[in-house]
Symmetry: C2
Subunit: 469 residues, 2 copies
Amino acid sequence: MTANQTAINTLIEQLRQQGFDEHQIKTDADSLGFWGKDWTKHFEPNASAIVFPKSTQQVQAIVKLCNALNIVITPSGGRTGLSAGAVAANGEVVISLDKMHQVLGFYPADRMVEVEAGIVTKALQDFAQQQGLYYPVDFASAGSSQLGGNIGTNAGGIKVIKYGMTRNWILGLTVVTGKGDILHLNKGMIKNATGYDLRHLFIGAEGTLGIVTEVQVKLERQPKNLTVMVLGVPEFTNIMQILSAFQSKMDLTAFEFFDDVAVDKLLATGHVQKPFETDAPFYALLEFEAPYEPIMDMAMQIFEDCMSEGWVLDGVMSQSIHQAQELWKLREYISETISVFTPYKNDISVLISRVPEFIADIDAIVSQNYPDFQVCWFGHIGDGNLHLNILKPENLSKDEFFEKCQVVNKHVFETVQKYNGSISAEHGVGMTKKPYLNYTRPDEEIDYLRAIKQVFDPNGIMNRGKIFD
Amino acid sequence: MTANQTAINTLIEQLRQQGFDEHQIKTDADSLGFWGKDWTKHFEPNASAIVFPKSTQQVQAIVKLCNALNIVITPSGGRTGLSAGAVAANGEVVISLDKMHQVLGFYPADRMVEVEAGIVTKALQDFAQQQGLYYPVDFASAGSSQLGGNIGTNAGGIKVIKYGMTRNWILGLTVVTGKGDILHLNKGMIKNATGYDLRHLFIGAEGTLGIVTEVQVKLERQPKNLTVMVLGVPEFTNIMQILSAFQSKMDLTAFEFFDDVAVDKLLATGHVQKPFETDAPFYALLEFEAPYEPIMDMAMQIFEDCMSEGWVLDGVMSQSIHQAQELWKLREYISETISVFTPYKNDISVLISRVPEFIADIDAIVSQNYPDFQVCWFGHIGDGNLHLNILKPENLSKDEFFEKCQVVNKHVFETVQKYNGSISAEHGVGMTKKPYLNYTRPDEEIDYLRAIKQVFDPNGIMNRGKIFD
């Protein structure tokens, strides 16, 4: 028996003595495989045990024991991450928040809800809806991801242009630090100027400083008559001109883009209808609230101006909620559709103003080095976040393809660095992007990150090996 | 000559050798007094020298020398602070950002401006205005305060209900840490999930971790047809009902309250007109954008509903920008008006839902202990931020009055603690509230703050003695 296995056995024994029941500790192979990994596929799961605490106090008990026994912890939410931030690959004990998903309190005057961090994002959205309110952070994995995980990566998604990142909606956090202390950070207040805001340090920390157990979330009024436009665009630079034209006069709730490669694949599935007859190399999808007739008129006017300028080839505007939902499918179904082409995916960001140059540079790099690779772009242009997808040619094996993509990777990140951009816009660093972190943050900055981790987690037991070594 | 004076002389000599000219170093008594203090009056300034760097590199040079010479630094902006965060009371060298106020770049597609941290808040607002955009953080001292200081306390002000705190508008920071490293934090990106966001650690740190030298600021579209309503309200709880009634249907840009004590003093100055004939014990001022007729109609409808419910005694709505400005004076002139009564001021916050109970508790404490003290309340009800002002009775000397207020202080902060609130909503801790910090943040949390300071400022030279000892 390894030293780690002995420690794990002691941990389990002591947790049982402290009242953890049989459903709260799993060590069977299926469970270790299931809870030991996230949506990434590059790392083999190798967890030692999965523990399901039911309270902040139970999380604290586990963390304290793991410190004493030198056991490394992988905090775990909905495991929908794409950077291997929640993979237990090295004998870790997984702390799953699956049994901590209650709504603890609702404060109508504050438009605030208090929840356990294991609540599924969609369940939080639904709760808000039931109260006549709105939780605006939304993305493809909302049906499985947990709020604690969203906080760990400061999740963004499709409504950031209006509502910002997860960070904007977090009024308070209860955390158990790597040392095992329980901290109640900011306690739900909007204004609180009493020293360093540790809440914001835990948001985006990917579980490396401690575990978020309870959250105070701000809610918003529901959007009114959300209306969607899809536009066919001749040149990529026109997309930026369209964004600017609309944004100078209206509040957009989304501004997405995708290219004809994505649309061709989508139409081939038969699940989505062509938005209009005209073919276009690029598409913009924009959304706005239109509770009053003059807003609709203004949108039409801007659309016509864009047509006159030659920035738009054709377009369509939703006339009902149903039509709006249909148009959204053009964007929402892309990821799933291209997944059959085993895409090499990258989630990167630069300043909005630098997007056209940046895309041109990356396109040139890929077509120069790999003329037979097809590139599919989509993303959140309204916030500078691009999803680069290189599709595997049929004649290449998966291994050969990924090997070549590793070479592309280096070029992509060098270009990100040249443009002062980010190697991870919203997916986090985890293990997948750890080797590339210094393309976005210089080594001396990473030294500060290490020192901060030391403050909260002196034994380095909390999600060790994620973000940095 | 003291050891400190010898060190200061060495510092000045070395700075001159490094090219600092005569206008960049001041040691005359007038300058030491002027730049050595902020708007608080409780601490005597006692600076050793004032240095005016012109670049991030010059700030770094000073910080490195001060580390070597064991000289303590007080970072200094517009010195409008109300918590003695920028007072040099113990022989510190003041680093003033007065000569670093340039606009460095403007990025229209990103709606972002890059500035030096010494820019005056009003100058930033004006620059945005000239570009057809808007910087929404606004408060009484905007004409003198500097952006770097706003960041140090995460300034809030009167538009937080819609636009949030200073934090929301900061896309990137260049800082010189207490150790003397230059860090470029977040580089202007909206989405960037690459490890701990140190930018948010520096926001609200009151210059105790380092000095912010350059800032990337997000701007917003200009508000359209801002319209103001002032309502007379019979009971404080009605204010909360009015807030809820409006907020459920409209987006408010401000929701302020003040009491009849404030209004009586205002009217007595003759500078402000009575908003309507009816007298009321409480007043609400609310503001919203009304670009379309139906929004105006909706506001009138909600107003009438509130009248029918008995929540409103009387009210007025602005019909022009001029009228809106006139109505704002009712709120904006309060601070200046009551300053002649030598008020004991406190800036505190609690959850919005707890405001009525909290105010009642504080009122009871004051009237029970000091029946001859007059209390004047005003504040930003829309975000739970209250300004408590106790007015000095004429028959009491200033010293006697402040002595009694110190006793009240303790009761106030105990009440804040009971309600899980904050002892400083937007003014920061500085030296004034340092003794009371643990009413909001428990000692074990403060230990983490101390450890973080140690990471960025191991010699403790950066604004020593502020926030905590």
